[in-house]
């Protein structure tokens, strides 16, 4: 029976193989039972290690939002910046600020939150050799140029503008007057860091510690993170559930299937192809609301052809040739809102959002569009492309639609075509290197719900993300005036004056505001989203638990 014998060997080997690979799979799957009060939520793998000053994208930001309380926090409905970890932030001259912390604040590991926790964290974030992606958030603080020079090695380790007064107080000196600067402090790059971050960095990254509503109990990189309420948290957003289990999915389609099958509770990345039937699938457990993200078509103003005299008319004309309303309905199923300005509705009218500032420059008007483009000398060379990256999002569909809209207006089906680039990285690379010769798509996700975040980085001369290479001294002067204005209302009015210039110069065409979506299971209630389009996890309740 030689045959039988070798067959046994094969089976034996297979069993050993299976057993060997099965190691380490058991035990970790805390899937969240039916009544444990834990919310099971969709998550994407964060792109970078979870350090406050190194997290630039949404998935990492989500966690930082849950585990950190900043000096200020943004209200989840109005987006207004309110004091949280700070007792008071005072200034007499809009340049020197004194920050006093609330007493007895603690990190989730039980250690105290002190003035040092902030000052050390900010100095760490700004220091060039720490390679933090968000380092530029500290550039307004005096001494930033010493710790983060444009070239060469830093000549100081700490910023001279930061001084610890006592355990609960520190002062900040800025490079120049900046009245709305404290409102930036809700951004997570400004989060405090515990001692452990500096003494045992690797351990910290495996299980980050913060002072926010939740604390991390387990983190399996690339697959899940379990959070429970932080017992030391004394802030206003106490969790109304017993914890959150963030589950990483390989694709949002799979997560959607799991949501329908009842294995997932909250999904804030509803796949585009399911948008048409999500309401009936989930029996109405779905929300769609504007987020702090807008999308534009940027012009390469570093290219002569697009910056020649009269081209501003062409750019405004092109803006008027785009039928935003139809495109948002047909292609995005109403999950985009046609743009009326360069900011986002999440700011609210008081915060600087406006629906009439633009005049008619963002309104679809074929006749006037034709006229303006002709007056300005026409599209350079009679032909343009709109660049986009083909690897993610459904950019091809809307770019084709926008081009189609322009072509229809001009009565020339070769005037505009889409120009795909294979990967996002390559696409960004070309933009950063100023190699774009034709318009290209751009997206802006706000860092904080303030009007200056939508204007300064993108349109001020030399702005950190000024991809259009736009430069207008009048615009720069107004921004500077707004920064130095003594109160927020005056500042906002000045920012809006600056914004007004953009509607005639049109360095970029505002297209639409992106909405945030979320679908949820019948197991949970009270699912809402904040202005960053993160679900407000602390408010979610689990039914019958």
């Amino acid at each position: 029976m030689r045959g039988a014998k070798s067959a046994k060997w094969v089976v034996g080997a297979a069993v050993i193989g299976l057993a060997a690979t099965a190691c380490g799979s058991g035990g970790t799957s805390s899937a969240g039972g039916s009544n444990d009060g834990i919310v099971r939520a969709w998550w994407g793998d964060p792109q970078n290690p979870l350090e406050p000053a190194n997290t630039t994208e949404v998935q990492g930001g989500k966690v930082l939002d849950m585990i950190f309380m900043d000096l200020k926090e943004y209200d989840s409905t109005t987006g207004a910046a309110k004091l949280e970890a700070a007792q008071s932030i005072t200034t007499n001259d809009q340049q020197n600020f004194t920050i006093k912390l609330k007493p007895n604040l603690k990190f989730s590991d039980g250690t105290a939150v002190t003035a040092h926790s902030f000052v050390d964290a900010w100095n760490y974030g700004a220091l060039l050799t720490n390679k933090q992606l968000n380092a530029y958030f500290f550039e307004d603080i005096e001494g930033y140029d010493k710790v983060h020079p444009d070239s060469g090695q830093p000549t100081a380790k700490t910023m001279s503008g930061l001084k610890v007064v006592d355990n609960d107080t520190f002062t900040v000196k800025l490079n120049q007057k900046f009245s709305t600067w404290p409102d930036r402090l809700g951004y997570k790059a400004f989060a405090p860091l515990p001692k452990e971050f500096f003494t045992d960095h690797a351990a910290y990254l495996n299980k980050p510690v913060g002072d926010g509503p939740y604390k991390i109990v387990s983190y399996t990189k690339g697959s899940s993170m379990k959070l429970v309420p932080n017992p030391y948290y004394t802030g206003p957003s106490k969790p109304k559930n017993k914890g959150v289990l963030l589950k990483v999915y390989t694709s949002s389609e799979t997560a959607y299937a799991d949501l329908q099958a009842g294995n997932l509770d909250v999904l804030d990345d509803v796949p585009a192809e399911d948008l048409s039937h999500v309401k009936s699938d989930l029996d109405g457990r779905y929300l769609n609301q504007p987020a702090g993200i807008n999308q534009t078509i940027s012009f390469p103003l570093n290219q002569k052809a697009w910056n020649a005299p009269g081209m501003d008319k062409v750019r405004v004309g092109l803006s008027m040739a785009i039928d935003r309303k139809t495109i948002t309905q047909k292609i995005f199923q109403g999950t985009r809102t046609p743009a009326t300005d360069f900011t986002s509705p999440v700011l609210g009218a008081a915060g600087g959002f406006s629906s009439d500032l633009a005049g008619d420059s963002l309104t679809y008007n074929p006749a006037k569009a034709r006229e303006l483009i002709k007056e300005g000398g026409g599209i350079p060379g009679g032909h343009m492309t709109i660049g986009y990256n083909a690897d993610s999002g459904s950019h091809k569909e809307w770019v084709d639609a926008v081009c189609n809209s322009i072509n229809n207006v001009l009565g020339d089906n070769k005037a505009c075509v889409g120009a795909p680039t294979g990967t996002f990285a390559d696409f960004r690379n070309q933009i950063t290197n100023g190699e774009m010769t034709n318009p290209f798509r751009a997206g802006w996700q706000m860092d904080y719900p303030l009007i200056d975040d939508f204007l300064t980085p993108q349109y001020a001369t030399g702005g950190s993300s000024n991809d259009a290479h736009y430069s207008n001294p009048k615009f720069d002067a107004l921004i500077k005036q707004a920064d130095a204005a003594p109160d927020a209302a005056k500042a906002t009015a000045l920012y809006q004056q600056a914004e007004k210039l953009l509607f005639t110069d049109m360095p970029a065409i505002p297209l639409w505001y992106q909405d945030g979506q979320a679908g949820w299971s019948s197991r949970v209630s009270n699912v809402t989203e904040n202005s960053f389009s993160f679900p407000v996890y602390t408010d979610i309740t689990v039914n019958n638990s």
């Binding site: 193989g17 992606l133 294995n263």
Partner: protein
């Protein structure tokens, strides 16, 4: 035989260097990994320069390749953007994919050979035609279509299986994705077995066995099947590498955090160490599987060894 093995091993060296270099060049041609880290924002030049220096990206491409290969031979596959060493990612991803592959392999072998035997024994009859039509269908429909359909009906509609594999990839959850992954190869195995069985069913030794009065079961399993399986076994051998690579699509559909998922993330995030590292290991697996099959051939067929 010894010389044959040595020759085959030596042939693997240029293949390995060639493939890894090609992958390296292709990944780096995708664009600047540092620009990708900053998302829609423009990188701060000073920070970008620091990162570039830390990742050895400020050298020429050939220099980077040499540096990378040197690192690999000391067991250092670099670090992913998330700060994890790539070897750690491999440590979590490969066991999962291997398990999925083995499940698929088991399904493929058992069902494929079973169907092939059934069809081959009843040549030209209803069962045979049924298997032919079934395999044609399976080969014709792309994996992602079968994947999404089965996921929707079995997972979402009828609650027979979980639509997404749970954390840690328990075997029970892997059966559905394993089935989808096995589907295409399963059809080949069935057809290969069928032809071979049908041919051998009329062989002299089978007639002799029947004439000796052996029980039918014994004739089929020991005499007929064993001899018919030689081409099938070699196909199955080479297919292991194929299954592991093919898992890219299936893993994404069923939420399996294996090699396919890591590769996809690596490409999406423009993370050269992850992509090159994983593909390098896949290349080694392919080469090893091919070597094994070639050696098996040599064992089975003496003519090859002396050629």
């Amino acid at each position: 035989m010894g010389r044959y093995v040595v020759r085959r091993l030596l042939q693997m060296v240029p293949v390995f260097i060639g493939t890894t270099f090609l992958i390296f060049v292709m990944v780096y041609a995708l664009g600047d990994p540092v620009a990708a880290m900053f998302g829609d924002k423009t990188p701060d030049p000073a920070t970008a320069a620091q990162i570039r220096h830390a990742l050895y990206l400020d050298h020429s491409l050939p220099a980077q390749y040499v540096h990378y290969m040197k690192q690999i031979f000391t067991g250092n596959f670099g670090t992913a953007a998330t700060g994890q060493p790539v070897t750690q990612l491999m440590g979590t991803a490969f066991p999962v994919t291997l398990r999925l592959t083995l499940v698929a392999f088991a399904i493929e072998a058992v069902v494929g050979i079973g169907l092939g035997l059934l069809a081959g024994m009843r040549r030209g009859r209803f069962a045979d035609n049924g298997v032919l039509v079934f395999t044609l269908l399976v080969v014709a429909v792309p994996t992602f279509v079968t994947g999404y359909l089965l996921q929707y009906f079995l997972g979402v509609k009828w609650h027979v299986a979980n639509p997404a594999v749970a954390e840690g990839a328990p075997i029970g959850d892997l059966i559905l994705p394993g089935l989808v992954l096995a589907a295409v190869s399963l059809a080949y195995v069935a057809r290969l077995t069928r032809t071979s069985v049908a041919e051998n069913a009329r062989a002299d030794y089978v007639r002799t066995a029947v004439a000796k009065g052996l029980p039918r079961r014994r004739v089929v399993t020991v005499h007929l099947l064993r001899n018919s399986l030689i081409p099938v076994v070699t196909f199955l051998g080479t297919d292991i590498g194929g299954l592991m690579a093919g898992a890219v699509v299936t893993e994404r559909i069923f939420n399996v955090h294996g090699v396919g998922y890591q590769l996809y993330q690596g490409i999406l995030r423009e993370n050269p160490p992850t992509v090159v590292g994983f593909v390098t290991i896949l290349v080694i697996i392919f080469l090893a599987a091919n070597l094994l099959v070639d050696l098996l051939y040599a064992v089975l067929d003496p003519r090859i060894r002396y050629a």
